[in-house]
Symmetry: C2
Subunit: 325 residues, 2 copies
Amino acid sequence: MTLKKLADHCHVSVSTVSKAFHNAPDISEETRETIFRAAKELGCYGKYRKEKYNKKSIAVICPETGSDFYTGYIERLRALIEQDNGIVLISADGFDKERQRELLDYYADHLHVDGILIFGIHAPLKTGYDTPIVSLHGTGSDPTDAVYMDMRSPINEAVAHLVKLGHTHVAFLGETLTATKGDMFAEAMAGHQLQPTAQISSEQRFELAGEDGVQRLLEQAPHTTAIICTYDYIALGAIKALNTAGLRVPEDMSVIGIDNIRVTPYIGTSLTSIDTHPDEICAIAWDLLKKKMENHFFRLKQRIQISGSLVVRETTAPPRNENAG
Amino acid sequence: MTLKKLADHCHVSVSTVSKAFHNAPDISEETRETIFRAAKELGCYGKYRKEKYNKKSIAVICPETGSDFYTGYIERLRALIEQDNGIVLISADGFDKERQRELLDYYADHLHVDGILIFGIHAPLKTGYDTPIVSLHGTGSDPTDAVYMDMRSPINEAVAHLVKLGHTHVAFLGETLTATKGDMFAEAMAGHQLQPTAQISSEQRFELAGEDGVQRLLEQAPHTTAIICTYDYIALGAIKALNTAGLRVPEDMSVIGIDNIRVTPYIGTSLTSIDTHPDEICAIAWDLLKKKMENHFFRLKQRIQISGSLVVRETTAPPRNENAG
DNA sequence: CTGAAAGCGCTTACAG
DNA sequence: CTGAAAGCGCTTACAG
């Protein structure tokens, strides 16, 4: 469908049709109506009636929207971006490199958004995006500007907290997607001259991974007195499974989560966890992206590191005497 | 920047530049490279290098991404849409009518997505979108095709469940955005010849609304033996506040949530809640949207109603004798 | 492998 | 209030 064809269909000139769609003041209301009605019938109304948007559109690419960890960040970013009169488009790549690249291409080269915020870049980046991209919560080796979280020091802090309470038999509960944090845990333990009693990687996710992990842990290393879980949902599942097995938290087992999601204070015994400072990270990342958007020659690549911090609540306590190291 | 200017800048013809961007086979690799490099420098690479996307793009417009209720639906929709080779763009309107309309315009008339899924339409709909729109979880009076949830019957089921356990002093805990469910609760109570002991609407949201609501409830109606909360996060906050006040759930107070979000079985005493059948709703809504996308003359407006159902877990029990009856 | 030229789709200053 | 005509930006069949 072209303007010409639509014009013929309405028995007016292309000029008139063109002007009608551009809100020219000299077109009669009647003619405009006739043209719009015909366009809608022929299914080309949207094609020509392009509203002008002065708002900046910002894409946020995350791995998934099914976890409070990411949605906590997304809601904060959205508040900041909308405050600055931007429109936010969110997509999830499901931890898939190919899909992440596809989404980057789609937003940068097809939709031409004004800026992209992305939770870590997993694949080598295609060159030539003229859309500014800021990564947050990546590994720290992203090929773009990045605001990332140092997890090493808070995981070390968590281990130190347990050691101070008297624990020496500490295990780690993770899942397939969180191997890096497991390594950091092992390093932190080594730094305290300790061996993990177990380092379990479940094939499940979320709460189910915690239940699965605890079942395996109680078989493999029943002398364990404390568990660090790779994220809070896993800690929830772990606590449930511990209770089912007749073990109380924190009397029989200390549990620490990571991410400090919104519900952690509301789960019966409130969870000791590691906070990732989402307010600060979001503010810094959006600030950086804005700077890039204002000046495309702002080519200097910045890496901004923030450290997480341990929040001690009720799920950690000294080990029972009979088990203490 | 125009192709002409870019061509002059590279000392080639417009034809050559045009062909370079369209992957014409007769352009030398060298020339193509020169042109692309210049385009990137001049910031117009993305403008001309429009990859062709054969994928359908689907917008999902929700009120917020900060609650498991919506993200549970979104993850399911995303799985279905990606299975059918679609790209998903998510935006949140923050319960704001103006912003919802803006997002509809943006996706339909500006980005020209292939279809829109939206969680209830709050404002009168502008006519003339030639983009198919399906509403889910609206009020049932949306101006588009809609798949919506009947909450009346499961709320009635929840009240009946409490009455059968022996409760007669039942309160409702809501917040500013959930007035409709409060009305349905009052009707269900009337159907059982009962008066609510209280119907509290907190100005807070999520867990904080539950804590706030319980504090007010214990002052206003201390003889209450059961609470229905307008969504699960409020129930979490309510249980926390009840425990703080020295009341046990369900021995001293029964609590029912709504939505049956993923964490409800993992919160210490697992929560009795109302399930909204997200799998079924998402499958039906996506199916309907696909049909509309395949045939734009599929103008028959459909309203599909699904009923929620009560899932009884551990937070409901008979009232203590001294309070019963 | 490159470009001149024809031509399409759209916009707009101008005529009536 | 409408349209003929000039002209811009882009694509493409064809010539070299």
